[in-house]
């Protein structure tokens, strides 16, 4: 336990150390720069806090501290079993601190090192329960993906540093501006690299396997915060490029649209609660990307209002997603702590034994569906509104693409409702489907941080304007050209006004009807069994399951899923055995990733013969290599 407290203290100290200076950053141009001299290989390393970094620092620190507080309750059963957690806490703190370094570092070389520390420490966090083979496998998959991501980012930085002759981001900016071909290539490489981290489809495969494997506070931090460093990277590239080319804008927008559609489709189909949340993270990354894409289109067409609203929506959604996704992952952790399962269909009726978790999950679910009066609504309405305004700029092509994304987002909104009503009702409502239901609520040390998060959700939802002015405005303005600064009135104002008007109206009406109802309910209330249409002996397993709830929807979109059935029908007059299970596989994984891996395996197996364990053969290889080296050097 001492390790745990030392971890908290380190995080608190770092929070104080970072918060004090960044309070001074109140305008978009005010930066704090700290130059450090490392070995000559790096040159000068600048660590700078500009409004964009400040925004991400806020998310990282607040969410990091909330996660580590939650971790206490979550890790308790493991400590009781005698598992050491000191190294786990060490990596947790390292992850938070390395993320801070990533979002402040201005030197490409140092950035990559911090990035690598971040990936490695999160890898060790994922494999916390490393005695389990599945978890180890998921962890290694994660590690591989992170290194592929690293390769792409490295490639982008190498090109830039060769062109500019330095590792400093500011010198990159000079090379990138006025050079559309170069910035296209660099942006594409960086987008793939950062996109793997963020979880854009088709680079998302690590998310649905790493998140269920990791302990809940880690998946919360990874999904809520760490994948946002990918978003940070993309935004940082944008500040360097300044005016995006047409190719970049539409690439980001279309990939984001595919991402959110794909993410939510699979979120709907999943029955593992954490896998569902992981896919929903992919969806939300897509929504953030769509906001950024709209902003870029605004920049490209020189439409300040569209750019402002788009970026504002994307950045606000980054904040919002980190809040409600943490909340939801914590609830998943509560459920796992009490029932030891992540399968929704084994649960049911938990709202009675875990009322607080149920209420908090409901808030998170409503927020992630973008429903008023919660925070998701504010960012989604901004993105929608940006798109609406963007429809009229540009040409017919732009109109059609934006309309596709617009209606796609509407589709996603309703599918999110489907997905989270499914999750909530299967886990918390109805009656328990199995004996493993929980009998008690989790400890306050787990509930309190979640309550804090739900308060954040409500504050952003109900007072969007003040949050917007204080947190979102500066990073957005730093992405848009300085000349266009508008100090007093900003284009998002009318929409935020709409939001606050409608949330106030909703809350007032809710209150009125609540009072009315409590007046009306004074009459007698009779408790009865649920109406079973005349059938008097219902049993808990006759309830609708999650799979049956979404089955009409999934059958409508049949070709998009690869379903693996495992059915054993009951036979004979007195059937005693029978089971049914359904697994839905990721089509991208099944039809693209696996064939590539299969081919890779087949191709590499051709070289197995080289390794035959015979020393003489190895000496022969050495000699052949030497000969080649000598001949080569002579010829060249």
């Amino acid at each position: 336990m001492t390790g745990y407290f030392i971890g908290i203290i380190i995080l608190l100290i770092s929070a104080v150390l970072v918060f004090l200076p960044i309070l001074g950053i109140t305008t978009a141009d005010a930066n704090i720069v700290k130059t450090l001299e490392f070995s000559p290989a790096f040159g000068q390393v600048n660590f700078a806090i500009d409004p964009l970094s400040k925004f991400f620092i806020l998310i990282i620190l607040i969410m990091g501290i909330i996660s580590i507080i939650y971790a206490k309750g979550y890790l308790k059963p493991y400590i009781d079993k005698g598992k050491g957690i000191n190294s786990h806490i060490l990596f947790f703190v390292t992850l938070v601190l390395s993320m801070l370094a990533v979002v402040t570092c201005q030197n490409a070389f140092m950035f990559l090192i911090c990035w690598e520390i971040m990936s490695l420490s999160s890898f060790f966090l994922v494999i916390f329960e490393n005695e389990n083979k599945e978890i180890l496998k998921a962890g290694i998959q994660y590690l591989v993906f992170m290194h592929i991501s690293m390769l792409f980012i490295m490639a982008a930085f190498i090109i830039l540093s060769i062109k500019s002759g330095s590792y400093d981001f500011q010198s990159f900016a000079a090379v990138l501006q006025n050079n559309p071909e170069l910035s296209n290539i660099v942006f594409l490489l960086a987008f793939i690299g950062f996109g793997i981290k963020a979880g854009f489809v088709p680079f998302h495969n690590w998310l649905p396997s790493a998140h269920p494997a990791a302990p809940s506070h880690v998946s919360a931090l990874m999904s809520g915060v760490m994948i946002k460093t990918g978003i940070y990277g993309i935004l940082r590239m944008l500040t360097l490029i300044q005016t995006p080319t047409k190719l970049m804008c539409y690439m980001v927008l279309i990939i984001s649209a595919i991402t959110f559609l794909y993410g939510i489709l699979y979120a709907v189909s999943q029955n593992d609660i954490k896998k569902m949340l992981a896919y929903s993270s992919i969806e939300n990354i897509g929504i953030i990307g769509a906001g950024i894409g709209i902003g870029m289109i605004g920049l490209y067409y020189n439409n300040f209002a569209v750019a402002f609203i788009g970026f504002a929506g994307g950045i606000l959604h980054t904040l919002n997603h980190s809040i409600f996704k943490e909340l939801l992952f914590f609830t998943a952790g509560n459920i796992y702590t009490k029932t030891h399962t992540r399968k929704m269909e084994l649960l049911g009726g938990l709202a009675k034994s875990m009322p607080k978790s149920a209420g908090l999950f409901l808030i998170g679910a409503a927020a992630i569906c973008g429903l008023p009066p919660f925070n998701g609504f504010v960012s989604e309405i901004l993105i929608y509104y940006g798109m609406l305004k963007g429809l009229a700029i540009g040409n017919f092509f732009n109109f059609i693409i934006l309309m596709f994304v617009f209606s796609g987002l509407a589709f996603v909104g309703t599918m999110a409702i489907l997905c989270f009503t499914k999750a909530y009702s299967t886990i918390f409502l109805g009656a328990s489907r199995n004996e493993i239901s929980a009998r008690e609520e989790c400890s306050p040390s787990m509930i309190v941080p979640m309550t804090v998060l739900s308060v954040f959700i409500l504050i952003i939802g109900i007072f969007p304007e003040s949050i917007f002015k204080n947190i979102i405005m500066q990073p957005v303005l730093s992405l848009i050209d300085i000349e266009h600064h508008i100090k007093v009135f900003h284009p998002a104002e009318p929409v935020l006004m709409t939001v606050s008007v409608c949330t106030t109206a909703l809350l007032v009406l809710l209150l009125i009807f609540l009072l009315l109802k409590s007046k009306l309910a004074k009459g007698k209330i009779t408790l009865q069994n649920t109406w079973g249409c005349g059938y008097n002996r219902p049993n808990n397993r006759m309830q609708y399951t999650g799979s049956s709830y979404v089955s009409p929807f999934l059958s409508m979109l049949k070709p998009l899923f690869k379903k693996i059935f495992d059915i054993k029908k009951p036979k004979n007059l007195f059937p005693n055995e029978g089971h049914f299970s359904l697994k839905i596989e990721d089509i991208e994984e099944a039809y693209i990733l696996h064939p590539v891996l299969k081919f890779d395996e087949w191709f590499l197996s051709k070289f197995e013969k080289l390794q035959n364990g015979n020393l003489q053969t190895y000496i022969k290889y050495g000699l052949i290599f030497l000969a080649f080296a000598i001949i080569g050097s002579v010829l060249l």
């Binding site: 429809l391 009503t421 009702s425 006759m542």
Partner: protein, 310 residues
């Protein structure tokens, strides 16, 4: 000032009584076609008052969600109605982004009515909830496409834009208006759970959609839910009225009432002349709305960028 007050008053009248009247007219039309005299058109209002007075029977399985759902439904549709032009011809709040607020308020209502239905643990209600959730996923994008296209064409980002179609864009605008109104009419049928998507008069739980979701609701809960769902129908019909009725007439309230009356009669007639579609083919019906939406989209796009709008 007086005019504003008058507008607010008639809007309040509209939201309080027109939903019941609409349901009454639909029922009356149905009884006309089946050769009966039928109940008075105020019968739904009497039913509502009767339900309010009754006391509740609640399932033992339910949690707080179940009793919250009706309140959220009614509060949600009321909030949505503030952004929709009702009988007075202009919305209470003509703010940009009204479309999204409207859709997401209805989404909130849907979210809570779905989990309210699932709260009972009944497989029948699960079935209804599952179908309802599934149909919405297709309706919503089509609705967004229609309204957003019209908004982009007119350059006004509140529901006010709908009325600009007919007069401003000439005969071309009328074409768009026809398709948009038709699509929205289908939406009334789908969201209002009318024939051919759902039969509100059916007595077999297995074939019901909306009705089966509220099997366990009773007393004032049921009253609020039915009120909310008829308000929802009224709101979408009001959008149709806004499209059809030319902008700026003083007689807007009169035209509005006539439009609502006609829409209700058409719904009643459709209900008397058609059978419910088989459950597995409802999707095809809903996709008609999507294709109408795509027609509106392409017409608006061409109008904007090829200059046909005039």
């Amino acid at each position: 000032m007086m005019r504003l007050l008058f507008n607010i008053l008639i809007d309040i009248f509209a939201i309080l009584f027109l939903p019941f009247l609409m349901a009454g007219i639909i029922k009356k039309t149905k009884s006309f076609w089946s050769g009966r005299k039928g109940a008075s058109i105020f019968q739904p209002l009497y039913d509502f008052i009767k339900l309010i007075k009754k006391h509740l029977v609640i399932s033992k399985t339910t949690t707080a969600v179940f009793s919250l759902a009706p309140i959220i439904s009614i509060a949600g549709v009321f909030t949505a109605s503030l952004f929709v032009p009702l009988i007075s011809g202009s919305a209470f709040w003509n703010l940009p982004g009204g479309l999204i607020v409207f859709a997401y308020m209805l989404g909130l209502v849907k979210f809570f009515s779905l989990i309210g239905a699932m709260d009972t643990g009944s497989s029948f209600e699960g079935m209804g909830a599952s179908r309802e959730a599934c149909f919405t996923t297709i309706v919503e994008p089509a609705f967004f496409i229609i309204i957003a296209s019209i908004m982009a064409l007119s350059g006004i980002y509140s529901f006010e834009s709908l009325s600009k179609l007919v007069l401003a864009s000439g005969s071309y605008g009328i074409l768009i208006a026809i398709f948009a109104a038709l699509a929205l009419f289908l939406m009334v049928l789908i969201e209002g759970c009318r024939v051919p998507v759902d039969d509100p008069a059916t007595h077999l739980e297995l074939t019901m959609i909306h009705e089966v979701m509220i099997l366990d609701n009773s007393g004032h809960d049921l009253a609020l839910i039915t009120w909310a769902s008829s308000i929802k129908m009224l709101l979408i019909s009001s959008l149709i009225a806004k499209i059809i009725i030319p902008d700026g007439t003083i007689l807007y309230p009169l035209y509005y009432l006539i439009t609502i009356f006609i829409i209700s009669m058409i719904i009643g007639t459709v209900e008397s002349s058609m059978a419910r579609i088989r459950m597995s083919r409802i999707f095809e019906f809903i996709f008609i709305m999507s294709s109408l939406a795509l027609i509106v989209l392409s017409l608006c796009g061409v109008g904007m960028f090829e200059g046909l709008g005039g």
